[in-house]
């Protein structure tokens, strides 16, 4: 029985459980006070200069115009090109972009390998000499795979070098940060070596993905490719357990905070939630609060500021 298939299954399970549990953890936190930050991307016609519906006379009497297209216009360049870093920290972007874009390409390669594996299972050969579809998948996997690995390696080395040699960055870098980047560097180096020596056209890797699809535990490969798969699997499991989970928690940062501008309406859903939250007990100890764990937020907020002092 091949261990690497099992390692990948377990890693994928850890990834899914970690992402879901983290997502649920943040989603279940209580609604917070409004804390938006402009520009808010969905403000129709106003996002370009950072305006809001509060610029309207009697804004509460008018329909709010929210634009999904406006959000996508910000989100897509932000996710794909790291537009924010590019605008505000160009020197970091030069290091961070290849790293992230390399990862995106490798995510794409996983998709291409899956498609290839499914095609082969269906009897369509993925090869340069076969059908158009097979040829496209074959060539795309080759190009995107190599580009992803090279960009990922360049980016991770550049980021590690910055953390090692830049005084300001070094002062904030924990040992775990060096470990994380080194983990990426080693994985990319091993993967590049594996494909340079054992699997230049990602054929074996496609077979391996096929064995994942068909639950074929008999898959074996050379030492380098086996190492690549194990390292990449462990990395996939590890990422959502760290601050690198920002790849999905950023959704909360933007949609749940920066762009969360929905006003409360009398008798509305938000007001109902606020009324529940205001019943929470307070135990802050300062003299002007005197929380005893029994008084709730309304009790304190409507009490005399110097009562009992």
């Amino acid at each position: 029985m091949s261990l690497i298939v099992l390692v990948t299954y377990v890693s994928a399970a850890v990834f899914i459980v970690a992402v879901v549990s983290r997502f649920v953890k943040y989603a279940r936190l209580p609604m917070h006070l409004r804390w938006e930050l402009y520009p808010v991307a969905h403000e129709k016609g106003r996002a370009k200069y950072g305006g809001s519906y509060l610029e309207e006379l009697d804004w509460w009497t008018k329909p709010r115009e929210s634009s999904l297209f406006g959000e996508l216009k910000v989100m897509i360049p932000e996710i794909l090109l790291l537009a924010g870093v590019r605008e505000h920290n160009k020197s970091h972007w030069l290091r961070s972009f290849p790293f992230h874009f390399g990862l995106y390409l490798l995510g794409g390669v996983v998709g291409l390998l899956l498609v290839g594996a499914v095609l082969e299972t269906a009897g369509i050969a993925v090869s340069r000499d076969e059908s158009l579809l097979g040829r496209v998948v074959y060539d795309a996997t080759y190009v995107v795979g190599w580009m992803g690995l090279v960009l990922g390696l360049v980016g991770s080395i550049a980021l590690l070098a910055r953390r090692l040699f830049n005084t300001a960055y070094r002062a904030y870098t924990k040992k775990v940060d060096y470990f994380n980047l080194a983990f990426f560097v080693v994985t990319f180096v091993v993967a590049l070596a594996a494909h340079a020596v054992e699997d230049p056209y990602f054929v074996q890797l496609r077979s391996y993905v096929g064995s994942l699809v068909t639950a074929d535990f008999g898959f074996t490969a050379g030492a380098l490719l086996t190492s690549e798969v194990i390292l990449a699997s462990l990395l996939v499991a590890y990422i959502p357990l760290t601050h690198m989970s920002h790849f999905f928690t950023k959704w909360f940062m933007y949609h749940g905070i920066r762009w969360s501008d929905e006003p409360a309406q009398r008798g509305g859903k938000i007001e109902g939630r606020v009324q529940q939250l205001l019943k929470q007990p307070v135990s802050w100890s300062a003299p002007h609060i005197r929380g005893d764990g029994k008084k709730n937020w309304v009790d304190v907020a409507t009490s005399d500021v110097m009562e009992g002092t």
Binding site: Y26, H32, R34, Y38, Y254, A301
Partner: protein
């Protein structure tokens, strides 16, 4: 400049960081020479003996030194207890989600540093990086709250010792941030270092009863007890407004009388009461505009309702909620259709945005910015203006609370487009603006030498912007107008411009939007703006 490691904050020393004006970012023109910046008044030996003053060269809190190790330990325990509450749903539902997200996802890329006017103005002082206090707090959080102690603690979270030195310096450091959130705007992840500073302030206030006297005892407490942080009770404020009405009537040739406690009025107008005492032309100008337009409006003499300030928004959720409820309650009693907020940025944000999830039921009365009201009156022709009366250079200071934190950007520009033919923008402006340096309470904090810090560090970038906006016209014989539609910003700008003799040297006067509008109203006698320093 001396390099400071994150963990150095816990190591006792005379000062964690030293401020030298030679390090500061040079100002434009003949202020570029460091010698043009006045000397930083050193803290006296007596002050250093009495108060915790080991962060930098100033103090904001006047935190008394503990008398014994036992007292230190007790304070550290209180801090830890406050941290636990800060990360609990019951005690901090108000900001727990954004706080946790910011605590757990920073990649320390330092993008925030370049966005921070305090870090830039200081010449890159490492303790003023927005991420510095956050990283200290994050390490404490991971070790003491999240439970990442044990053998791998420093490997995962970095070194950080929790002792009184750390706690007292962190308390001060929470007051080296204007909470302008410019750093948050540029963070590629969405981490909000200003929010973290805000939350640290809450631990000290809500658990330990520690906050700057100016914003707590002399601020929100006084407002809740007497009606206004200025100390004016209802009778005094009415007297003052009556005096202003008389003065303004004489000045404008109109008959102005501010209505008080008028039930059923459409609008409850809430000023920052600081305007009434320090810049009486501003509430006077509001009265002229509202009366000339025939609006149905009133002011309220209820406790706190004639002072729009809400300092709690900077340091204490409960003080914030208490004041917001008083404001809304006064409006409810009068049965007004809406509250219009005067020229005060934090009052705008506090009551309109933050209180939106505090005020429920009948207290949820619509709130509107005076910028929107003004623009409606001008664009609809309900007040007539002659822009030629404002034929002098004008620039606009954007209060952070109005623009970056509320998205009210365009109305004030449309107004200026109509009334100020020689208007020019600062660079940058709108939602990308820089704080005046007085944000989050600093404008009213001048204890010891904190005023020097405000003028030399937190206000430096704004001064640079102002001077650059009037480049080529800095001759003092050309009178120039810095329009700052926010009372706190005006307080800071008054101190800042005065510190560098900007009125005498360059002829730049600051004031609000209402004054500039009235100055060009056709049915008002010319010459409303007094070109005198105040």
């Amino acid at each position: 400049m001396k390099q400071v490691k994150v963990e150095d904050i816990s190591k006792p020393s005379e000062r964690l960081s030293e401020l030298r004006k030679e390090d500061f970012k040079p100002l434009p023109g003949d202020l570029a020479d460091p010698q043009a910046t006045p000397d930083f008044k050193p803290l006296s030996g007596e002050v250093r003996e009495k108060f915790e003053a080991t962060l930098d060269d100033t103090i904001a809190l006047s935190l008394p030194k503990p008398k014994s190790k036992e007292e230190e330990d007790k304070l550290v325990a209180q801090f830890l207890s406050g941290m636990e509450k800060l990360f609990s749903e019951e005690n901090n539902w108000t900001f727990l989600q954004p706080l946790l997200l910011s605590m757990e996802h920073c990649v320390t890329c330092h993008t925030c540093s370049d966005a921070c006017h305090i870090y830039e103005a200081s010449g890159g002082n490492p303790i003023y990086r927005p991420a510095y206090r956050s990283e200290v707090f994050r390490r404490l959080y991971k070790k003491h709250i999240k439970g990442n102690g044990g053998l791998l603690s420093s490997w995962r979270s970095g070194e950080m010792e929790l002792n009184w030195t750390t706690v007292s310096r962190l308390a001060e450091l929470a007051y080296r941030c204007n909470l302008c959130r410019r750093c948050a705007q540029t963070c590629p992840i969405g981490v909000d270092n200003a929010l973290i500073a805000h939350e640290i302030r809450k631990i000290f206030s809500q658990e330990m009863g520690i906050a700057p006297r100016e914003i707590h005892l002399d601020g929100s407490v006084k407002q809740l007890q007497t009606g206004s942080s200025t100390g004016m009770n209802a009778e005094v404020v009415k007297d003052n407004i009556e005096f202003i009405d008389e003065d303004i009537s004489e000045k404008t040739g109109l008959s102005i009388e501010t209505p008080w406690d008028k039930h059923g009025a459409d609008i409850l107008l809430i000023h920052n009461a600081g305007e009434i005492l320090s810049w009486p032309l501003n509430p006077g100008a509001f009265a002229v505009i509202f009366e000339s337009a025939g609006l149905s409006w009133t002011m309220s003499s209820e406790i706190a309702a004639y002072d729009g300030i809400n300092y709690g928004v900077w340091y204490d959720d409960f003080q914030f909620a208490r004041v917001a409820i008083k404001h809304a309650e006064a409006a409810r009693k009068l049965g007004v259709k809406k509250i219009v907020l005067g020229e005060c940025g934090h009052a705008h944000k506090a009551l309109t945005v933050i209180a939106d999830r505090v005020l429920t039921g009948e207290l949820n009365i619509p709130r509107e910015s005076c910028m929107v009201t003004f623009w409606d009156l001008i664009s609809s022709g309900r007040i007539k203006v002659d822009p030629e009366r404002n034929d002098f250079p004008v620039t606009l200071h954007d209060p952070c609370n109005l623009v970056r934190l509320m998205g009210i950007v365009d109305p004030q520009r449309k107004i200026l487009g109509k009334i100020a033919p020689r208007f020019r923008e600062m660079t940058p402006h709108g939602v990308d603006n820089y704080c005046c340096g007085g944000g989050s309470g600093f404008a009213i904090m001048s204890g010891h030498n904190f005023g020097d810090w405000r003028a030399q560090i937190s206000g430096r970038k704004k001064l640079e912007q102002v001077l650059n906006a009037f480049e080529g016209e800095l001759d003092p014989s050309i009178k120039k107008y810095l329009c700052a539609p926010c009372s706190n910003c005006k307080g800071q700008l008054r101190d800042l411009l005065s510190y560098y003799d900007v009125w005498e040297k360059y002829g730049i006067l600051y004031d609000g939007m209402a004054e500039l509008i009235v100055n060009c109203m056709t049915d008002v006698k010319p010459g409303f703006i007094e070109w005198e320093w105040h």
